[in-house]
Each structure stands twice: as structure tokens, then as C-alpha cells.
Symmetry: D3
Subunit: 173 residues, 6 copies
């Protein structure tokens, strides 16, 4: 199975905020944006593993700036790290007011997908080799974020999360 | 401003999985489910604060069992704790095959909403007083989850997160 | 085949009125509401019969108060009576302005569903045993409403509708 | 205010049943069809009154034959009678399998709309003058159906419904 | 295989412009209109050939007047000419403000569909016999438009397009 | 007003074909694709002119290969030439089966947009300076395509279309 680079899964999605995507303030609803992010991340992870995928989990998402009705939404997705049968996808989301020529960050997020074969069984995925500095940082952080997911999902004891513990006790050392 | 109980914000949403909600395996897509959860949580938090709200953040969501085409989706939402201008909403999601008479958990999640006045300025929300044992546990956990959010959002240093640190270093004590 | 109570089919659906659901006055369109009511009633009748169902008929619906854009829609559904292979579902619909803390009735309606087996053939459904006073009244009225449906569908001669005739000629007796 | 004929409000709507419009049997869902019928009837009543309208009520609808995925839906609408500020619209709905060259009736229905001025106040509508034999029958029946609506809506005592009573007691005379 | 007349494929579609169909000026978006036109034209061509069809091409469409939110959209479709396995459909689209009693042209267009058998293979379609003067003109123009399509699709050399060349060089003769 | 390069308006849109986007063969419907292309082209032209835009016309589109359910749709858009108040946008559309690792062309198209100021009046747009060889060819062809549009829209006499005539009569020279 060939290795893959983050660039292989690079995905760019662009949308316009239409009336039905908005709340009473005329801003894009969080749920609608997470829907689009899920589609973008699914495409990105399929580019990495070349098989069907399903959303396994979504990490904390913090919405920074509201995206206005009529503005453009940019969603950029790239696989940060592959585990045995799963892949973490990093998403950057920003809004753009093309008339005012103004761009603003909406959020950054991590979605995890599992590759499935045609019988819906998890399937091994190619290894990811990070290249740029940013990709290496994302690759390293992926292990720590995975521990957070496992702890929050009740599948790991916090005291076994070596990477995470270091963050909390380093001032002790 | 009157105090509120979790029961005041209890919200029940029920949906059927239609063809366009599904992926190639005929299962509900994660993004579509997060969209419905956002609507349910928005209604729940509005019941607590009686003002307009916007999604501020979404915590880790782990999708356990896929919900099948034609099955029923149940989403139950309740506010767990109120902070100055924000509220954490706990969601329980399960699928149900009414023909096979089989219920299965999909996920549990926490969405955070901010109350806004008509000028889009954050607005103080009523205090929440938990009642049942489960509500008290959710209320206590809310502080710890808030620290995770602040750390992950880069707004708190892990070593200042007293509640969280305890989880990681208690084996030291 | 076990008997069922109305509580077994109790279904609660909650929605927010979004821009595309509204007419030029910014109020929920009747057709969109009937679509949601159909989904809620289908779930309710499936809870009663534990098989697939199809909408057989819808009784007179009278829309009392318009539900505003951004307001919450509550739809409550419960089976009132089971006939051989069909079930009558009672729906109560009300709107709620959570900011103004104001609830208002939209309508009450009766949908009838037929249970189908996997070959699309009508299938016998469990008997319904009403419990509360309100459930007993709904159960009794179901027979009269069924006669109206049969007469309006050209399947019964008005003079054979004993229950209904009584309403019109009682002043004669 | 000029009089109008039924032909003035004649409206023809044509749709294809798409995947998301169907239930688990691959047939058009009743709720989706009622949504389309509401749009067609709204257009028809606007043609009659030349002002904005809102759905006031929907009479009994009985779904006769399911309309299949991919088949064509035909909805024909025409105003049958105008009351002071409201109009009754008659709808005929049939499905068509253009490959098999087979047409089948789905249902017939009556929707009632109220004309509103820009301040959302009910507004007088033109009188309707029926022309053909079928239009005259529909015009006459409209009064009887209106009595059913008023009785079912609790706004008329059955014994004051002269037109309706005649149906039930004529065998007595 | 029987011949068909244009009237056999006559199709009338009527819609209301809803909020989500509009751009920031509150006018129907071109893309949404082309979606509806595609459905109307698909139905029209299916009426002609009585088999499944797929969109093969769309000719130049020029949008003349914007259709406003809440206005009615009328789409009229009719087959103009049948080639071996394809059919050209002519569409007339106009908007109508029923309150102002004002109709305005949006556009005229030509869509081409190919008839397919159940194995997705192109299938011979009935010949079309134009009747009215307008139908005869559309029938003749169809050949010229087909040459434009073939040239623009790189499947015909402009100098072999006899019908078209005549338009450009007739002043030479 | 600054000049712009084609790269300034480069837009990449990525979508997955969902069930409701497909016809009876499980392929993306032409109308749905034209809807997405309209959004992508609108964003691209807004990047060029930094004002609101409306679709003025769409050139011939020929659909070459059907895009399958579950496959990925790639839409690439770039402005080819600016006229006084309008811009021609070139779109390339291809499908991708990420599991089979197979890409296939769907179509190429030209959409024309007009820039509007806040009062809906046409507004002057920046000049476009092509850079690459392909961009120069697209720029030159834009004039010819504009003549086709004007002729087909009845706004130019074919014999005044110098650029186009050359194509038809060059074999004469």
C-alpha cells in the first residue's frame, strides 16, 4: 500500500450563504456549516484512502466570527495523520465578503473518518508522511488529540495518556 | 432574573432518516445529524434564556452506531449549566428501528450557545439549578468541559485548568 | 398480538421555522407544516404497529394562528384508535415565541395511516386501549370521523352513518 | 371589483418524484405531496384575488394510489367558489408513468385560502361565476363543504347546517 | 413507432419563488431556474419518447428580467424536433406578479435530451410532426441549432454546417 | 480601477452527489449540476469585480459523461474576459470516483455575469489581463462567444459578427 502526502488529500470547497442557511441574525447557522465541513472532510479522507468512509468523530469546534448571508464560505481540508483504519482531517473555515474585500476566520476543526470496505468492515488505510513544517506539527498533535478523543469516549484512562499528561504536569518536572 | 431548572429546557426532536440524509451505505451522514442536533440544542438553550442564541462551540462527538435509512432519530436536549452569557446543552441521540423494535445509541454531545440581545450583544442568562443526580453530575462536569474548550481554543493555559489537571495527576498524589 | 395504549405511540417533534419555510408575510406555510405533521404522525403510527406505514388520509385541518419565522413549532402525535389495518393519529400543533414567552395554538388534526408488510400488503395492527378521559373521547370520536372519511370518499352512504346521523337529527327525536 | 371565472384561476403544476420525496416503499410521501398541493392552490387562489393569500384550511384528503419514484406528478387547481374574503380551491392530483404510458389518480382535495392586504388584514375577493356543468356542481358543493369545515372547527352547530342535514335526513322525508 | 405532435409533449410547470431560491437582490437565482427548467424539459421529452431520458445539452440561455421573491414562475416546454435518439425541447419562461397583475418574460431556451433504454443505451425516438406555424419554424430552426451545438462541441467543422453558413455568407451571394 | 488577472477569480468547488441529486439511472441530474455551476461562477465573478452579480446568460453546455451517485464533483471557475459591466466565466467540471481512482470530464461551460451596484444598476468592472497561453486563448475566444450570444439573443446581425464570419468563410479566401 503506497504512502500518501497531505497534499494528496487537499480539498477546497466553496459555498455561498443562502437565506435558508441563516439564523434570525442573518448569519450562517453552526449546524449547516458542520454539515458542509462533514462533506469536505469526507471527500478529503476518501482522497487519502480511496475507499468509502464514515464519520467516526468530530473534535471541539469553536465558532469565532459569524459568516453573513450572501458571503462566501471557504472550507479547506487535508488529512493530518492516518491510524490503522482511521484518518484525522484538519479543516480551516473562513468567510469572505467579496464586496468589502474582507476575509475572516470562522473556525478550525478536526474530523475523524474510518475507511470501510464494501461490506462495511474497517479497512487499512495508507500511511501519511507529513512534509511541510505545519503538516509535521499537525501530524504530531494528532496523537494528542486522539488521546483526548479516547478519554472523552471513555476508551482510555487519563493516566495512560502520556502525551496529554505531559501538558498538565510539565510545570512539575 | 429567575433561576431555571434543567427540565425547563427539555427538548425532544424526532426525525425520520430520508434518502438524501444518507451516505453510500444507506446510513445517516454525520453532518446531517450535527445539523439536527444544532437545531435541537438551539431550541433548548432558547428555552433557558428566552432570547436569541448562536452556536459558540461543539464538543467532541463520537458516532457509535450508524442510524439506518427509514429509521427514527431521537434527539433529547437539556441545558446542563449556565455561565454568564453562555449555556452548555447536553444532547443524547439514539436511533430506533420501529419495525424490529430495536433502539441503539448514536452519540452524546455538548453544544455551547451564547445568548444575544437584539443588537447581537451577549446577554446575561438565568442561573441553572440542577435537581436530579444525573443533572448534578452533568452540572459539575460542565466546568471541566469548559476548561477543555478554553485550552483547545487557546484561551487557557493547561496548568491553570485545576479541574482537568486533577484527572491527570491524581495518581501522583 | 399485544394491545397498545396511546402512550406507546406518543411522539414529540420540535422544529424552528427557517426562511425557506415561510410565505411573503414571514409565516410558516401550511404545506410545509403538513409535511412535518405527516412525518410526526408516521412515526407515531409506526410506534403503534411496529411495521412500515403509508398515509391513507388526512382530515380537515384548520390553521388558527400563523407561526412566525424563527419561532419554535411543537407537534405532538398519538394514536387515537386502531381499525383492522389502519390507525387514526391525533396531532396537536402549537407555535412558541421563546423570546416573548408566548405559546399559541396552530391547529389540531387527524391523519390516518395503513400498516403494510414488506410486500406492501395491508397488515393487521394491535388494538388500542384508551386510558385517560381525553383518550377515551378521542377513541369514541374516531368512529364518527371515520364515517365522515368514508362518506367524503364515496365509500359510505350518509344514511348508513349511524353515528353521524345522530348529530344531525337528534333535535328531531 | 370584477367577477372571475374558474378558468381565470386554472393552475397546472408538474413535478418528478425524486428520491428524497419517497418513503421506504419508494413512493411519494403524503406530506411532500400536500406541500406541493399547497403551493399549487396558493397560486390558483392568487390568480383569483390578485393579492397575497394564506392557507386557512384543508379538507379531507384520501390518498388512492401511491405515486412511484421517477414518475410524474400532475396537480391541477381551480377556484370553485369565493366567499367574502376566502376562496375554496379544488385540486386534482394524478401520477403518470410515462414509460409504461399509465396514468392513475392520486387524490382530489379542497384547500381554502384567505386573501390578505399588505397589513395582513383579510380582504374582499371577487365573486366567482361557474360556467361548465362540473364547475357548477363544485360551486354548489362548496357551501356544503364549508358547513362541514365550520362544524368540524366548532364554529357551527350541526343542526344549523341546512345543506348538510338534508343529506342525512332526506330518507326521512 | 407512431409519430408524435408537439402538443403530445406539452408540459406546464408552475412554481413560487421562495426565499432560498433568491440572491442578495431578492431575485430568483439563474441556477435554480435552470434546475426547474431541466425538470420541466425532462418531463416534456419523456412524454414524447415514453422512455427514460438524460440531459445531453443546453443551448445559450439569456436571462432577460429577474423574477422576484414571492412571484410565480411559469415554465412551458414542448418538443420541437426529434433526431434519431435525441429530442430538442423548447422552453418559455416567464414571471408573474399576481398582485400587480404583471407578466414579464424571463427567457427562452432549448434543452436536448437523449432517450435511454433500461440498460442506459440510446434508444430510437418517435418522429415529430410540427403542426402550427410556430411549431414549423421551431422545427426548421432545430437543425441550425443542432449544427451550432455540434460545432461548439467540436464534433462538426463550421464549413460543413450548411444551414449556418448560409446565415453568415448570404450577403455574399 | 485596478486590473485583474484570471488567477484572482480562481474558484474551486467540490461536492458529493447525494441521492436527491440523481435521476432514475443514479446519475447527477443536469439541472442540479447547472445550479452548482451557477454558484461557483457567481463566486468567481464576484472575486473579479468585488460587487454583487447576477447571471446574465449561459452558453451551450454539453454533458459528456454522467457523474455517479456518491462520486465527487469538481467545478473549477475562472474569469476569461471582462467587458464593460459584464464578465465571462469559464467552468471546467469533472467527476471522480475516488474508490476506483478514476477521473472523467463532465463538461466545460461559459456563464456570463453582470456586476450590479446596491441599486441594482450595472457597474463597471476591472479589465482582465490574461497571462498563460490557455488564458490568452480563452480571452480571444470570449469575443467570438459574445457574438454568438448577441446573435442568438437577437441583438446582433450575423453579418456584423466579424470574428464569427471568419470561421465560416475562411475556406473561401
Amino acid at each position: 500500500m503506497p504512502e500518501k502526502r497531505p497534499a494528496d488529500s487537499y480539498t477546497m470547497m466553496t459555498e455561498i450563504v443562502l437565506p435558508n442557511d441563516t439564523n434570525v441574525f442573518g448569519n450562517l447557522m453552526g449546524g449547516r456549516l458542520m454539515y458542509w465541513m462533514d462533506i469536505a472532510a469526507a471527500i478529503s479522507s476518501q482522497k487519502h484512502c480511496n475507499s468509502a468512509v464514515v464519520t467516526a468523530s468530530v473534535d471541539n469546534i469553536s465558532f469565532e466570527n459569524p459568516i453573513k448571508l450572501g458571503n462566501t464560505v471557504h472550507i479547506e481540508a487535508k488529512v493530518t495523520r492516518a491510524f490503522t483504519t482511521s484518518m484525522e482531517v484538519h479543516l480551516k473555515v473562513w468567510g469572505e465578503d467579496l464586496t468589502q474585500q474582507f476575509k475572516y476566520k470562522s473556525n478550525e476543526a478536526y474530523y475523524t473518518f474510518v475507511a470501510l470496505d464494501p461490506n462495511s468492515k474497517p479497512k487499512t488505510v495508507p500511511t501519511l508522511i507529513p512534509e511541510s513544517e505545519e503538516e509535521k506539527l499537525l501530524y504530531e498533535g494528532a496523537l494528542r488529540r486522539r488521546q483526548v478523543r479516547l478519554i472523552l469516549g471513555g476508551k482510555m484512562d487519563p493516566k495512560d495518556a502520556q502525551e496529554l499528561r505531559a501538558l498538565f504536569i510539565k510545570d512539575k518536572l
